[in-house]
Subunit: 215 residues, 2 copies
């Protein structure tokens, strides 16, 4: 009863501490830079001990990257919810748009974080690592969508990779332009470039040796 917010009381308390930690970390890191802030400082700013910090986040990088963690699940959901008959380029465009839009929606909070990530090698590395997981997940979803064998075909992984390349390109431009450029336009332009490959599924993989030869 009275479970209005979400889950048990203990879970809500845990969420509270996590939010406090994230808030403190994001503020300090964006202002001072990733290497200039220690975990002790973040913990102190949130009013907990260093040990407790590591009970909530696996690493200092995680505080920032986990802030974008739901993006992976969101993308997969978005892809799964697109009509099966839709051409891949359209389905994938909506897929990455789900996350881009989430960023662009509250740019005031998201932009500094994106700039921090893209500008910090250690964070960029973690972000890309996360993207590699998303790629596998999206590839699995694409294979299921199209009834392809994930282990035999290359298309699913390549399609997912191309979509995430577009994602990353848009994010980079948006970050570099300090939020000036329009994410929607960037997304459309990116997918206009990669669409010819995304929508040429049937030919390339099912017909034997194909057109490629002569190294």
């Amino acid at each position: 009863m009275t479970s209005r917010p979400a889950g048990t009381l203990a879970q809500r308390k845990r969420r509270l501490v996590a939010d406090e930690l994230t808030q403190a970390a994001l503020g300090l890191l964006a202002r001072e830079g990733f290497d200039a802030v220690t975990v002790d400082e973040i913990a102190a700013a949130a009013g907990v001990s260093k040990r407790t910090f590591f009970r909530y986040f696996a690493s200092k990088e995680d505080v920032v990257v986990q802030f974008l963690a739901e993006m992976g699940a969101a993308m997969r959901d978005a892809l799964a919810s697109r009509p099966a008959a839709e051409p891949p380029s359209t389905a994938l465009r909506h897929t990455v748009w789900r996350s881009i839009d989430a960023c662009a929606g509250h740019a005031d909070r998201a932009l500094p974080v994106v700039q921090l990530i893209l500008g910090t090698p250690a964070l960029l590395a973690r972000f890309l690592e996360r993207q590699a997981q998303w790629r596998d997940e999206l590839a699995a979803e694409m294979a299921e969508r199209l009834g392809l064998d994930l282990t035999a075909e290359l298309y699913p992984h390549l399609a997912a990779g191309m979509a995430l390349t577009a994602f990353q390109t848009v994010l980079q431009r948006w970050s570099d332009s300090d939020g000036t450029e329009d994410p929607a336009a960037l997304t459309d332009r990116s997918f206009a470039v990669i669409a010819p490959a995304l929508d040429a599924v049937v030919r390339t993989e099912t017909s034997g040796p194909g057109p490629t030869s002569s190294p």
Copy 2:
């Protein structure tokens, strides 16, 4: 005089120590796993101190990733040396093939390293970070090749990203199959998929609003 091998004597000595360190590290890491080996052990195995290790490599990850560092330069060189009239898909296929071939060439040494990298989150992250740099370099080269404005157009970054997606996909398959699958065939198949996008440069970016609309 007597500068047969390369550079001065000091430089050759330095190279010798670096090779010894790399050799020791690769052996230990591949056998025991990345986290199970300490820097002290690597240094001891190479007969130097921990401090000296860090005078040669910026981090423990670097020992492994720097082993593939020349790939970036090799790719850029490969792209720069392709005839300007060549279609992008062909030029980029040769570009990534330069590195794939280098791996496949001495698979006995390269395969364990690739498997170590792809199987270790921390190393994968560094590898992807490196790839992000390559992407920018290849994008710059592509822009110059095609006379495009790197800051205005999206195609260069997207094309470079697609090529590297193919690169990563091939490497992944090759690693997963324990070197069984043919890298050349995988490369050709991958580029057959992405070629339609790579070779459709002119239309998408130069002609105004274009075919993309209706979200």
